[in-house]
Assembly symmetry: C4
Homo-oligomer: 379 residues x 4
C-alpha cells in the first residue's frame, strides 16, 4: 500500500522577519556603485517609482529620472482617461473612506483615450527624461505600438500576477516573445514570485522582472484571495531563477522587487536578498511632488466586482530628493534611502549591487514593541 | 539501556499562517469549474451553511440552495424544539452577555418534537430545494428514519468530535455502517481533524466528512478542553486520507472544511489545502436573511455543565447573494466569496477544485498590524 | 583544525503554543478514571493546591481533600510564623502595590514557630483529611521530624529549583536518600524541569516530582534570572524521565506539573504532555475559600535582596467545588476543570490518565485576538 | 544543468526568545566567582558601562570602577568637545523630541579638543580608578598616543561595525596589528556579530571584543539599514570564535556582549550564551549618577546625513550601587543585577563564568501579555 502524501508547506519570510549580517570586510559607503542597467539604459540609483496613479504623473516621472532613477507612467489609469487628471485626483483625495471605492470604480470605468497616451509620453520625452510606461496584459498589444510611436523608452506589462502561459478560451492571450519582437524597447514584465514562473518569463526574452504579489501597503490581495508570497522569499526565489537563467543563457535579466517597502532598511534587505532594483509606491506617495496629495490607493481597488485594495492616507512628508538622498534629522529610516543603501553595503563590504547579493542574512523577527518600549515615552 | 522517549509535537497551521503561491500558468476566472458532488447531487458552488441556529432556518436553507449551495438544518436545535422559533431567537438576541449562556442552557433543555422535524423538512422540500439535516450522534438513530420518511435528501451526523469507534458502557453506540445501510440518502459525518480518524470514518461507507475541531468564531473548545487542530493542517491531513482512501477503494469521499473562515482568502486557502468544499457559519450569520439577527453562538454553548462557546455580535452586513457573488465595493475580502475563489484559482491556473488542491502554499504569518499601519489612518 | 562548536538551542513550548488532537476512538467522559496515586494514598482527582499562603490554610486543606484532591500547607510561611495568620493576610490584601513587597519582606522575616507547625498539622488531621506539608530544602531536615511527630501524611520539599546534588561550602546540604529513609511518609520534591535533573531526583527514592520553573502567574523568575522552561516541554521531558526510571527500576514516580495554569484546557494539555497530576495556585486563589482574599503572591517575593514575584489581584470568582466540578454557565474554561479534563479524555479515547499521556499533540499557536475579534464586541 | 541555488537564511535569537535551563547540580550563589580579566586587569564584576555620553562621565567612571566594574569614557563625544559638558547635557535634556536630533547634530559638529582628552583621563586616574577610553576607528590613530601619554589603561576602538579589513580609497585605514603594537595598553575592538568577523579581529592581537550590532534601546540601525543580529545568536557565534581562537592560539580573548539589556535575566542569558562580560547603556542611564539626567541617546544619532538613533526618556530610578547589588524590593529584574547573575549561576551549578557558558538554553518566546494578564490589574 502506498504511503499517504501530505501537502508540504515551505516557510517564507518578509522584510520584518530578516536582518542583514555585517561582513568580514567593510568599505567606505562613498565607494559603492549602485548602478542599475535596464536594456541599454544605465540608472544611477536602482530605484523605480510604481506605475500607480497616486505616485507617478508626467512631472514626477521627469523629476525621478533627473534624480537618477526611473518612474513608470500607468497607461491604464487616470492620466490616460482624463484630459485634466488633477481634478479627478483632487476629488479622490476629498471623498470619505466609505465613498472612495465606489468613486474609484466609477473613475476607472471611463474609457482610455489613445491620444492621451501619446501626449503623456511626449511630455516626458520633451524634458529629456527616459520614459517608461505600463499597460495591463489585456491592453499591452494595443498600447505597445502607440507607445513605440510616441518614442517611449521602456514598456512595462504588469498585473497582480502575470505568467508566461495564460490560458483563455475567449481570446488569444498576450504572447510575450511576440511582444518583445514587435517593440524595439526593453520590456519589463510582472508580477511574479516563484522560481519557476520567473524562469519561464525570462525565457520569453523580456528585459526585467517585477517581483511581488500582495505586499504593498495599499493592496489587500492576500486578504481577499489568500494569494501572496512575502517579499524576501519571493526575491530570493526569483534571484535564483535569474542566476540560473544567466548560467544557462549568458543573459542577465535584472529582478526588481516591487512593493511592501516602508523604510530604508527594507530596501537594503531586498538588495541583500537578491534584488537588482526596487520599485516603490507608498513611500513616494508621501513626497511633496506626488500626484496623490497625501493619499495612495491600490491598482486593483477599482475592480468593478472584486476590489482588492484600499485608499490609505500616507500624508506628505518631504521632497523626493530629500527622501532619496537626505540629509535628514529623521531617525526612523524613512528618509535618505540611498544613503541607507550605501551605508549598509559599506558595512557588508559590498562595492556593487551584485556583491551585496552575497551578504549573509538571518531570520530575526522584528524588534517587539515591548523590547523598545522606552521609545514610547520619548519626549 | 533503552533510549528515553520524548513525546514529539508536530507543527500545525491555521488560515492566518499560510498563503497561496501563484502558478506558472494562469487562466481566466470565468473558465473555472467549482462544482461540488455529494452522492448523486451536484452543487454549483462548493459552499455549505452550518447547521447552527443563528445561520440556518427553513427559508435560509431554500435560499442557499437556490444560489447553488447547500444549507444544513439543525434537528437538535431551536427549530425542532419550538413551534415558533422566531420568538426564541428574538429573545436570545435581546438578553445581555451575562444572561445569554443560562438562557441558552434553558432554551436547549426543552424537548425536541418529532413532528417538527417532519414539518421543517417538508417545508424545505416543498420549495424544490435539496434538504440536508443534521443530528448529534446520540440522536442520529432516532431521527434518521423520521428524516427519511419526510424525504430529506442528505443526513449529517455532527458533534465536536466524532469517531468511527465510540466506546460507551451504558448504551450501544451509533454504528455508522449500519446507519449508512439503513438510510437511502448520503450521510455526512463530522467533525474530525486527523488522517487516521478521517480514514476510519471513510471506511464506514459515509459520503463526505466535515473537517474542523475548535476553529469557529463562536467556539471556545480549544480554551476549555485544550483540544483542536488549526484548519490548514486539519484539511491537509484529511485530504491525504481522502486521497489514500480513493487510491485504495476507488471511492472519492469529499472533505468539507468546517469553520474558522473570516474572509474570501480563507476559503481559497482551505481549497488549496485540499478541501472539496467549505462549511460557513459566522460569515453567513451576518447576512440579512440569517435567523440570528446579527448574533451567532456556538453549538456547545448550551451544554448544561460545561458550555464551550460564546454568543458573539456579528452584525448584519448584506444579503447572502451579495456576500457570495458580489459585485462589491468592500475591499477587505468579506464579500464576493465565490468571485475570490474563482480569481485565486485563475491565478493558480486551476480549472477545477481538484487542480486547485495542487497549488503550492507557503507558511507566511499574517501581515502584522504594524506592517499595514497606514491603513489605520485610512480616511 | 577542529570545527568550531556553536551552542545549540532546543525549541520549547508552553500551554498557549500547543493543542491536543482528538483520538481515532472516543469514549464517554463518565467512563474515565482520573485517580492519582501518591505512595499508598489514592486521590479521586489529580489536582493539588499549591503550598502558597494565598491559597492554602488549614480549612482550605480540609476542603480540598474532601473534594477528592490534596492541598499542601506551607510550613515556611505565614501559617507557622503567626498565631493569628488572618490578621497578617488581611494586611497584605490592604496595602498598595508599591508597599507590598517591603511588607512581605518584613512579614516573612519573622521566625517560624515550631509549635505552630504541629498545631496546623493536627488541625488538618483532626478533620480526617490527608495532610501534606512543605518546607524549603534549608528547613527540611529540621521540620521533617516535627511533621512526622504531628502525624502529617505527605512531606513536600520545594524550592524554585531543587537538585539531587546541591553544593555548598558552608554547610552539609540536604541529602534526599537520608531524608526519605528518616521519615515514614512519602516525600515529594520540586521543582525541576529537565530530563536529567528529574531522573537524578527519582533515583534518590522520593515519591513524586513537582515540575515547573518560572511559569506561575505570580512568579517573575524568568524576568529576573532568565531561568525557566515552558510547562509543556518541561512536562514532556520529566515524563520521559519517569518512564525511563520506571523501565529501569520498576517504580512509577508520578510527576506533578506545577504552575502556569489559567484555564481547563491548560490542565488537559499538561496531562496529555505526560503529567500524572497538576498543582494549581492562582486559579484556587480566586476561590471564595482561599485565604488570600482575592490576592495572590509568589513564593520568592519575600526574598530580602532579590525578590522574584509580584502580588497580583486575582479577584474572587466562585467556590472551590464550583471551579473544580461545575456545573457552570462560564464559557471561557475557568470553571468545571474536572469536567473539562474528563471531556478532553473522552474526545481522545483515554480511559485513564496514563492513556491520556499517549494523546497526540500539535504545536498550534494561541488563536490571535484578531482571529477572534468578533468576541470583543460580544454583547 | 546545475541545480538552482537559493540563498539560505539562518534563524537567530534575541534575549526575549530564550531561557536558561536549571542544572542537574546547584550551588550556593555566594560561592560563584564572576571575575573578568582584561589584559592584566581583573574586575570583580563582569560589567562595563557603555562609552555613551548619557552614561559615562569622569565621576561615573570612577564610581563604576570603585564598585568593581569598568566604565568607558567616549573620546569622540561631549566630554572632549566642551569645557563644560554639563551645560550641553542639560540642554539636550530640555529640548523637545522634535528638536533633539538637529540639536545633537549641531552639538557633535563642534571640534574635539585634544587637551580635554588628557584632562578627562587624568581626572579619572587621579582617583586611582582604572581608566578606559574609546575612539571611533577614524580617530583611533590620532587619539591613541594622547591617551597613552595621559596614562589611560585600556583603549577601546568602537563603531557600529568594525572589521579587521576596512577598504578605503581615500585614506590608509586603521591597521589593528599596528595599533596594538603602538600602544602598551590592552585594545578592545567592536562591534561585530559573526563568527568569522570576530575570529579575524582576534587574530589582529587585540585583547577583547564587543559584540552587538543594532540591539540597543536607543539604536535604530536595524530600521534604517536593515543590519543587525539579535544578541543571543551574536554572542553564541562570537563565543564559538573565541573558543576556536583559544584552541588554535592558546590565547583567551574575552567577548563582551554590548547592548540590548533591559533586566537582570538578560545579563544571565548573555553569559549563558557565552559572554565573558556585558556592556550596559540604557539601564545605567537610569542611575542617579548618570550624566544624561534621565535621558539616553544613540551613538549614531548625531550623524549629519543619516542619523540612526533616538533620544529616549529612561527616567531616574536609583543609585548605581543599588542597581548593581541591591538589596531591593523591585521584583521586575531591573535591580540587583549582580545578585541575579549569581543566583542564576547557582541554579545552573556554575561556579565560574566559564562554567555558566555550558548551561543549557532553550528557545522559549517571551511570556505573552495575555499569559500574565492578571498582573495588569496588580493593585
Amino acid at each position: 500500500m502506498a504511503t499517504p502524501r501530505f501537502k508540504q508547506l515551505r516557510r517564507s519570510y518578509g522584510f520584518d522577519e530578516v536582518a542583514i549580517v555585517p561582513g568580514d570586510v567593510t568599505i567606505n559607503p562613498e565607494q559603492t556603485n549602485i548602478d542599475l542597467k535596464l536594456g541599454d539604459f544605465t540608472f544611477g540609483i536602482p530605484v523605480l517609482a510604481s506605475a500607480m496613479d497616486a505616485v507617478v504623473d508626467v512631472s514626477f516621472a521627469i523629476l525621478m529620472n533627473q534624480l537618477g532613477g526611473l518612474a513608470v507612467l500607468n497607461l491604464d489609469g487616470i492620466q490616460t482617461r482624463y484630459d485634466n487628471p488633477r481634478e479627478v485626483l483632487a476629488e479622490i483625495a476629498q471623498v470619505s473612506g466609505a465613498e472612495v471605492t465606489p468613486l474609484l470604480q466609477k473613475v476607472y470605468s471611463q474609457p482610455i483615450k489613445e491620444n492621451l497616451i501619446s501626449e503623456r509620453i511626449q511630455a516626458i520625452k520633451q524634458s529629456g527624461a527616459v520614459c517608461a510606461v505600463s499597460a495591463a496584459p489585456a491592453n499591452a498589444k494595443r498600447f505597445a505600438p502607440i507607445a513605440s510611436e510616441a518614442r517611449a523608452d521602456i514598456f512595462v506589462v504588469q498585473a497582480t500576477v502575470t505568467s508566461a502561459r495564460h490560458l483563455s478560451k475567449s481570446s488569444r492571450g498576450l504572447i510575450f516573445p511576440e511582444l518583445v519582437k514587435s517593440v524595439t524597447m526593453p520590456v519589463i514584465v510582472g508580477n511574479c514570485v516563484s522560481y519557476s514562473a520567473c524562469l519561464e518569463l525570462m525565457q520569453t526574452g523580456i528585459s526585467a522582472i517585477l517581483v511581488g504579489v500582495g505586499p504593498g501597503a495599499a493592496c489587500t490581495t492576500r486578504e481577499v484571495l489568500g494569494v501572496g508570497v512575502p517579499q524576501i522569499t519571493a526575491t530570493i526565489d526569483c534571484a535564483a531563477a535569474r542566476d540560473q537563467y544567466h548560467k544557462e543563457s549568458g543573459r542577465y535579466v535584472p529582478i526588481i522587487t516591487d512593493g511592501g517597502f516602508r523604510k530604508g532598511g527594507d530596501l537594503c534587505k531586498a538588495v541583500a536578498a537578491g534584488a537588482d532594483a526596487v520599485m516603490i509606491g507608498s513611500i513616494f506617495a508621501q513626497t511633496k511632488e506626488a500626484p496623490g496629495r497625501g493619499y495612495h490607493w491600490g491598482m486593483s481597488q477599482q475592480h468593478p466586482a472584486l476590489p482588492r485594495g484600499t485608499r490609505i492616507k500616507v500624508g506628505t512628508t518631504d521632497t523626493l530628493a530629500q527622501i532619496l538622498f537626505g540629509p535628514t534629522s529623521v531617525t526612523d529610516g524613512s528618509q535618505n534611502l540611498i544613503g541607507a543603501l550605501r551605508t549598509a553595503m559599506g558595512i557588508c563590504g559590498a562595492a556593487t549591487i551584485q556583491e551585496m547579493h552575497r551578504a549573509e542574512m538571518v531570520i530575526a523577527p522584528a524588534i517587539s514593541t515591548e523590547g523598545k518600549s522606552w521609545q514610547l515615552s520619548q519626549a
